[in-house]
């Protein structure tokens, strides 16, 4: 679609498995649209500069920085947020692992870490600690739950292998 005059448009995409549409401003990023149009707060803007990972969403199978990704680029894509991980009341392996290891205090960074954990384990089902640290180096936790987060990733890897 080419639209050089209008600063708004309607986009259609798959959100956590369901087809959806939204009327967006072209200057909105995907995190803003998830919050404003769908009431989803899992992807949240913190640094706004690509550094902290709080705004992480998975778009067409890849983790992206929501705060720097134009919502218009989600048109036609498949978007997964932390809200899409649980199956009804059943939490995903990554979610369970973060709870069981106590890998958070305030929880602000947790959706981003959980989505990145899912991505890492999709790519590499049995990462060692160095691989875990490297993959998650772009996610910041102000509460400093890093040791527990690394444990949570290992636990999630085990749960997924045994599932």
């Amino acid at each position: 679609m080419t639209d050089t005059k209008n600063s708004r448009r309607t986009i259609r995409f798959t959100l956590n498995g369901r087809p959806v549409a939204a009327d967006i401003g072209l200057n909105q990023n995907i995190t803003e649209v998830l919050q404003d149009s769908f009431g989803l707060g899992g992807s949240r803007e913190s640094c706004g500069q690509g550094l902290c990972g709080c705004c992480t969403v998975i778009m067409d199978g890849k983790a992206v920085t929501g705060c720097l990704t134009l919502a218009a680029f989600a048109d036609g894509a498949s978007v997964t947020t932390v809200e899409g991980l649980a199956d009804g009341e059943t939490l995903s392996a990554e979610q369970e692992a973060f709870i069981e290891t106590g890998a958070f205090q305030c929880g602000f960074c947790t959706p981003g870490f959980i989505l990145m954990t899912k991505q890492l384990l999709d790519e590499n089902p049995d990462p060692d600690d160095e691989e875990i640290r490297h993959y998650l180096s772009g996610n910041l936790c102000r509460c400093g739950a890093y040791p527990e987060i690394v444990k949570a990733v290992r636990l999630a890897a085990g749960k997924r292998r045994n599932a």
């Binding site: 080419t2 401003g25 990972g53 983790a63 180096s137 772009g138």
Partner: protein, 290 residues
């Protein structure tokens, strides 16, 4: 961000026709990671963005030539380059540099073309590509041209692209038995923007260095060759030339103080890391090191 329009052409030709003149308020967007950082605080307020995401797939592909040369399309994401077996085989120093360039999410959206066209000196790939003697492919309304990567950068955030020109890709020539290395030095986290980036590439004739290429990024106004280092090393045994090369680099590079360190500190970094990057290349397998 101020409202703007968005065009999504399906071909490179249409994209070139749309970007038109430099001051028209029309700006190409690839991944958008660098643009968004400038648009959010209002440093840049384009009227229209022309997305390159829909142009022909060739511009997001990595192709190898029979002799080991590589063509990497401008729309190839940095993550695809990082995971490419062809890049790892033919230019492992590129793979190595990418692993510490920002984070996975940024590499998933950032493209090679946007990386180069951004013209920020604090980027990791320009010195690496300069050392590998890579060329930038450029297309405009008047046709195509190729330039050396080092000739792309004019001044801070300014490139030698003419209005209406787009980067279409980069070729990295076959490296044969050349050895290469890159050292990124950060003063905050390990994957921060570099305070200094140094890259070197050379052939070994016995233990004598030949056809040396050295390049610097981040500490200087623009990424550039360090010709005094190349001269100091050419035809010498590395062990005899490291000190002289470090001194030459520190004298040649015009460095500035900024948030990542004072000019004096950076000069000292350059002196020390010039020797280290040469040694790292000596220890690497042919082509580079991961």
């Amino acid at each position: 961000m101020k409202p703007f329009g968005l065009a999504e052409p399906a071909s490179l030709k249409d994209a070139i026709a749309m970007i038109g003149d430099a001051d028209s308020g029309v700006r190409p967007i690839a991944g958008g990671s660098a643009l968004m950082l400038m648009m959010k605080p209002g440093i840049l307020q384009p009227e229209t963005l022309v997305s390159l995401r829909g142009i022909e797939p060739r511009y997001s592909s990595i192709e190898t030539a029979g002799d080991g040369g590589l063509f990497i399309g401008a729309m190839t994401t940095l993550r695809r380059m990082e995971l490419s077996a062809d890049v790892a085989r033919h230019a492992p120093v590129v793979t190595q540099a990418l692993r510490r360039l920002s984070n996975v999410r940024v590499r998933n959206i950032a493209t090679l073309g946007g990386h180069l066209a951004h013209g920020d000196p604090h980027l990791d790939l320009p010195p690496v590509l300069i050392a590998l003697r890579a060329k930038v492919h450029i297309a405009g309304r008047d046709g195509e041209r190729q330039i050396d990567v080092e000739d792309l950068f004019r001044s801070y955030l300014e490139t030698s692209l003419d209005s209406g020109e787009l980067i279409t890709g980069v070729t990295v020539p076959a490296q044969g038995n050349r050895k290469s290395a890159y050292i990124k030095h950060t003063t905050r986290s390990a994957d921060d923007w570099p305070a200094l980036g140094l890259a070197v590439s050379f052939s070994l004739d016995g233990d004598v260095l030949r056809d040396v290429r050295a390049a610097i990024g981040a500490a200087t106004d623009i990424p550039q060759r360090l010709k005094s280092v190349e001269t100091a090393l050419e035809g010498k045994r590395a062990a005899d030339a490291l000190q002289g090369a470090g001194d030459a680099a520190a004298a040649e590079a015009q460095v500035h103080s900024d948030a990542r360190g004072s000019a004096a500190y950076k000069r000292e970094l350059i002196r020390v890391f010039t020797g280290r990057v040469i040694r790292k290349a000596m220890e690497s397998a042919a082509g580079g090191t991961i």
